[in-house]
């Protein structure tokens, strides 16, 4: 810990950092633009100038860019030095000569880093009397709005888009003071991480277009910390509400989960909360008037649930609390997972492996700090995009750290490190059924059938551990690579293995485990990740309840059984005939859900339940981290309440989440720790709750005045130490309940620096979330030895596999207009050879025959697909649910 002297006062700082980071970590307000904790320094904006003195006698000093200056023991610098201050002010003044000063119509205004920095440096008057430079804007798709006039040429956008996200279609054009950040031609930004440009850009060049459609300033949003409901990674988000609508999603930093970035599905997939398609009224169908009051509903349901012949169907997108309450209401033996047999089986395999404690379940941060990564059979680019982004960072960082070791160069010196690293990359092997953008980064990439990928995995494990039987036949080229992959993994200090269930293949999961366990036995610091389909898949799988098809068997035995379905569309997890069969055997069907879907159409009793934004609850992410999400706002319609609250009301139970957590811990020991995931509802700081609204929140006495001129009493929150007003504790709260980032002088998202221990480090007081899947101190395990047979294409039959699309496969996210616009049309993908053999070309109509039903789909030829595989997009609204992992007949129409 070197000591540096800032303005004649000594401070201890961390070694290996630059001066800017160190000053910010100490709480100094030093302006900057181009530096970003996740992207390092390039020294482009000249904004963070400080004066550094040679020694104690030096009185003149010299101006340096603090982001480019390493911390040294005994370094003397001055932030408040008049020359440094004047320099910083002048830099801003130059930047502002061309700025259009259109803050009133700029979406960044009020959360703008440029505004903050301008105020911080003291520049307040444009002395430059000449004309301003202007640019034409580009259409960049439904997510990002482009207003190039506002640009200050900090290069953050291209550095993020190209260096971090690996995108290629955003670049910098033209020269000198005409440089232009955009695409070569107008068009949709191709990277699925493009939404981050809105947060990365320090001014209003790139802004959130979905927010623009119902624009609200940051200070007017009611916010709460939440968890993204769109995939199993559980990225931390802030959701902002105004006038009873969710207006935008911004990143909530958690250094162990999502860090600084979100994917476009997470950022723009919020519109379902505001959808017309929401269920808003409890119904009992078949009555003269379907709509019923809460009392009527509860009376009816109590009568219905009283007779004991009842089962509950839990859901992977319902919170832990809702699933538990349902389990309590119907009895633990009558609770089933709302997923099909295959998924339940695969998820059980995952939980068995992770619960055994043999291996560490990797967090995203663990993956980022790994130095060799193997992705086995999972298309993480589409099913877990932030994990793909993390893998990318890991691969880059491994290469950088090798560069840095060769010559003494600080790792934050981004441009120099990148220049030296050139095309070198850390080790990544990506094996999947179809190609992925990650392949470009990968040292080895393999496309094969799931069974072959599994065999490859077994073979790698066999290379690593001699106690395993080697592969019997070296039958195809992929086994030849296993040796190289095994070697690379065995050379690593901290290898990471990633797999998942989207290939519908159990052997892949086992193979991934085998590799990881073999590495563990070699003494490696190895970790494993399994990607699951939904936000609470892990939470549901951990209940160990039988699958949905077991419920079907039971319904056949007992007639007239009442079924309660909590937030799951049965038609999305089973092929239609099976779903129909299920419903035909039910007695009364009670459905709680957020949006209308085909299952809710079948419901006799329909109950509106709250989405992630209107409710409290917890999700367990794929890593086994229980994370709490908070009610962002209390909807006007008080029928819209959390599923667990409805279920507790039926059972006459409590409506306090803290008490429910205690019961969960008592009832299901696998969730031990859920009560410590966040401060209890009674938590107060100096007697004050934490306000969801910023202290500048406006319109309090006029927002609802057209309805009733007397202001309503603020909604009381019994389940969180947060208030629905602007009154309360103004300082920095515990990390789990931070509702938004703001610090005096820092109105933009960059105020985050004040909430972290050091910039880029963990949140003060520790990151939120509690891990329930932990590695045991003395891990013991066995290898799986049941290697599958090699895949061989069959004549006239194809193995049907799902293709997940980041924008399209999500049930909820498809309610967002932009995502629906960018989602693919249904298709059937076959290999070139198979297509040629059937005399079909791109666009030909193919007929998939499954159990006597025929589905017509246009053909898409996938160059890299293995012969004998047929791939169709999963989860599109227009796509029927097909039995993935089974063999189907395909003919050309």
């Amino acid at each position: 810990m070197p000591t540096i002297r800032i303005d004649d006062k000594d401070y201890e700082v961390r070694d290996g950092k630059n001066l800017l980071e160190s000053c910010l970590a100490l709480g100094f307000d030093l302006p900057y633009f181009c530096w970003h904790p996740a992207m390092g320094s390039v020294g482009a904006c000249r904004q963070c100038a400080v004066k550094v003195f040679k020694d104690e006698q030096d009185t003149r000093g010299r101006l340096v860019m603090s982001c480019m200056e390493p911390v040294k023991e005994g370094l003397r610098l001055s932030i408040v030095d008049p020359a440094a201050k004047a320099f910083r002010e002048q830099v801003i003044e130059w930047l502002m000569t061309n700025h259009p000063h259109d803050c009133p119509v700029c979406d960044e205004g009020g959360s703008c880093h440029l505004q903050d920095m301008t105020v911080m440096t003291g520049h307040d008057y444009r002395r430059y009397q000449y004309r301003k430079r202007t640019y034409q804007n580009q259409y960049l798709g439904p997510f990002i709005h482009h207003e190039m006039n506002r640009c200050i040429q900090c290069y953050r956008c291209v550095r993020f888009y190209r260096d971090i996200a690996g995108g290629e279609d955003l670049n910098v054009y033209a020269a000198h003071d005409h440089i232009y950040f955009g695409r070569e031609k107008e068009g949709v930004l191709q990277s699925p991480f493009s939404g981050n440009l809105a947060e990365i850009c320090p001014t209003g060049v790139f802004t959130d277009k979905t927010l623009k459609a119902h624009y609200t300033r940051k200070w007017d949003l009611t916010n709460a910390g939440s968890v993204c409901p769109h995939c199993s990674l559980g990225c931390n988000i802030f959701a902002g509400e105004r006038y009873g609508e969710i207006r935008c999603i911004t990143n909530r930093f958690n250094s162990e989960v999502n860090g600084y970035f979100l994917c476009d599905k997470g950022r723009f997939g919020y519109e379902f909360v505001n959808s017309e398609n929401r269920i808003r009224q409890p119904l009992i169908r078949g009555r003269l008037v379907d709509a019923v009051s809460e009392d009527q509903l509860l009376e009816y349901l109590r009568h219905l649930t009283g007779n004991g012949n009842i089962i509950g169907i839990g859901s992977p997108r319902a919170s832990v609390e809702t699933n538990f309450s349902l389990m309590q209401l119907v009895g633990i033996d009558n609770f089933y997972q709302g997923v099909n047999e295959d998924t339940a089986f695969l998820q059980k395999r995952v939980t068995d492996i992770l619960e055994s404690g043999t291996l560490r379940s990797n967090s995203l941060r663990d993956i980022e700090s790994s130095d060799a990564i193997l992705v086995l059979g999972e298309d993480i680019w589409n099913t877990a995009p932030i994990m793909a982004l993390t893998v990318r960072q890991s691969v880059m960082k491994t290469a950088f750290s090798q560069t840095v070791q060769q010559i003494s160069l600080p790792s934050w010196n981004d441009i120099a490190v990148r220049e030296l690293t050139q095309e070198a990359r850390g080790y990544l092997a990506n094996a999947g059924t179809s190609g992925s953008p990650l392949d470009k980064l990968a040292t080895h990439h393999v496309q094969a059938a799931p069974d072959d990928i599994a065999r490859m995995g077994y073979a790698i494990a066999a290379h690593l551990d001699p106690s395993l039987p080697p592969l019997s036949k070296q039958e195809n080229e992929l086994t030849a690579r296993t040796g190289e992959i095994a070697l690379a993994l065995s050379l690593a200090r901290k290898p990471a293995i990633i797999s998942g269930i989207s290939a519908c293949n159990e052997a892949i999961l086992k193979a991934a485990y085998n590799i990881a366990w073999a590495l563990k036995r070699m003494g490696k610091e190895v970790g494993i990740s399994y990607v699951l389909p939904e936000c609470n898949s892990m939470g549901l799988a951990l209940t160990k309840a039988p699958s949905f098809e077991k419920a079907l068997g039971r319904l056949e035995r007992n007639t007239g059984t009442t079924v309660i379905v909590a937030e799951q569309d049965i038609y999305r997890c089973l092929p239609e005939e099976q779903a129909e069969m299920f419903f035909s055997k039910c007695g009364k069907i009670v459905v709680l859900d957020v949006l209308h879907n085909r299952t809710t159409e079948r419901a006799h009793v329909l109950i509106p339940s709250a989405s992630f934004a209107e409710g409290d609850g917890s999700f367990v992410n794929n890593e086994g981290r229980i994370q709490r999400f908070y009610k962002v706002y209390a909807p006007e319609n008080n029928n819209v309440i959390e599923g667990w609250k409805w279920l507790e009301r039926i059972g006459g139970g409590n409506e306090r989440i803290d008490q429910l957590h205690t019961m969960i811990e008592k009832g299901l020991s696998q969730f031990a720790g859920i009560s410590t995931e966040a401060p209890a509802a009674g938590f107060r700081i100096h007697g004050e709750a934490v306000p969801r609204e910023p202290h500048r929140y406006s319109g309090r006495t006029a927002m609802w005045a057209h309805l009733q001129v007397s202001e309503p009493k603020p909604h009381q929150d019994n389940n969180a130490p947060l208030s629905f007003t602007m009154e309360g504790y103004k300082g920095i709260p515990p990390a789990a309940i931070i509702p938004f980032y703001w610090a005096p002088g820092w109105n933009s998202v960059q105020a985050l620096n004040k909430y972290q221990e050091i910039p880029g480090g963990k949140l003060t007081g520790g990151n939120p979330g509690v891990r329930v899947l932990n590695e045991s101190a003395e891990p013991r395990g066995d290898f799986f030895t049941d290697m599958p047979e090699a895949f061989s294409a069959r004549r006239g039959r194809w193995l049907l596999l799902p293709a997940y699309h980041l924008l399209g496969s999500g049930e909820m996210s498809m309610e967002s207009r932009g995502i629906a616009e960018l989602s693919p049309e249904p298709y059937l993908a076959l290999s070139m050879q198979d297509a040629v053999a059937m005399n079909a070309t791109t666009g030909s109509t193919m007929v998939v025959q499954i159990m006597g039903k025929a589905y017509s789909l246009p053909l898409k030829i996938a160059e890299t697909l293995t012969d004998g595989l047929a791939v169709v997009p999963a989860g599109l609204p227009a796509m029927p649910v097909l039995p993935f992992g089974s063999w189907v007949e395909i003919v050309k129409k």
Binding site: P100, H101, D102, C103, P104, V105, G109, G110, Y130, R131, K132, R133, T134, Y135, Q136, N137, E147, N149, R150, Y173, A174, A175, H176, H178, Y180, K212, H214, Y215, T216, R217, W219, D220, Y243, R696, Y697, S698, G699, R700, T701, A702, M703, A705, H706, Q708, V709, S710
Partner: protein, 171 residues
Amino acid sequence: MLSHIRTMWLVFLHLFRKKATIEYPEEKVKLHPRYKGRIVLTRDPDGGERCVGCYLCAVACPVDCIALQATEDEQGRRYPEFFRINFSRCIFCGYCEEACPTYAIQLIPDFEMAEYRRQDLVFEKEDLLINSQGKYPGYNYYKVAGMDAGVKAKGTGKNEDPPVDIHSLLP
């Protein structure tokens, strides 16, 4: 003590002074043009709404009595979808007028707006928008701001160069 007595004497003399108050409503008040009374929304010289829905008036309002929602027309011009002032809360401080970057919101010399029902003091945009430029004639925000919102093309505003040709490398 003497000063106290003197004070009392001087106050006593006020009995015979001319009174500063007038007999309103029989006698009307003469208001100056910058008197801060009822709030209106003005229009620009072309007759367009001046308000761009920037929310600065709302955030400046110490009693939070202004609520609005910004929206855009097809050309990207911002305007308020609704604009509501709860005059039963308004304290006529004029901060909204000071905060307004487009001279849209203005306080005018009219204070006679009493109502028997509080609800009637909630003014919507229709009630606020007047067909006049108010105190600042000739100003059109979109003529000077960098945006192209259908008022002027990029680079044709006051103090603007024509748009950069990004294919040119000439200085």
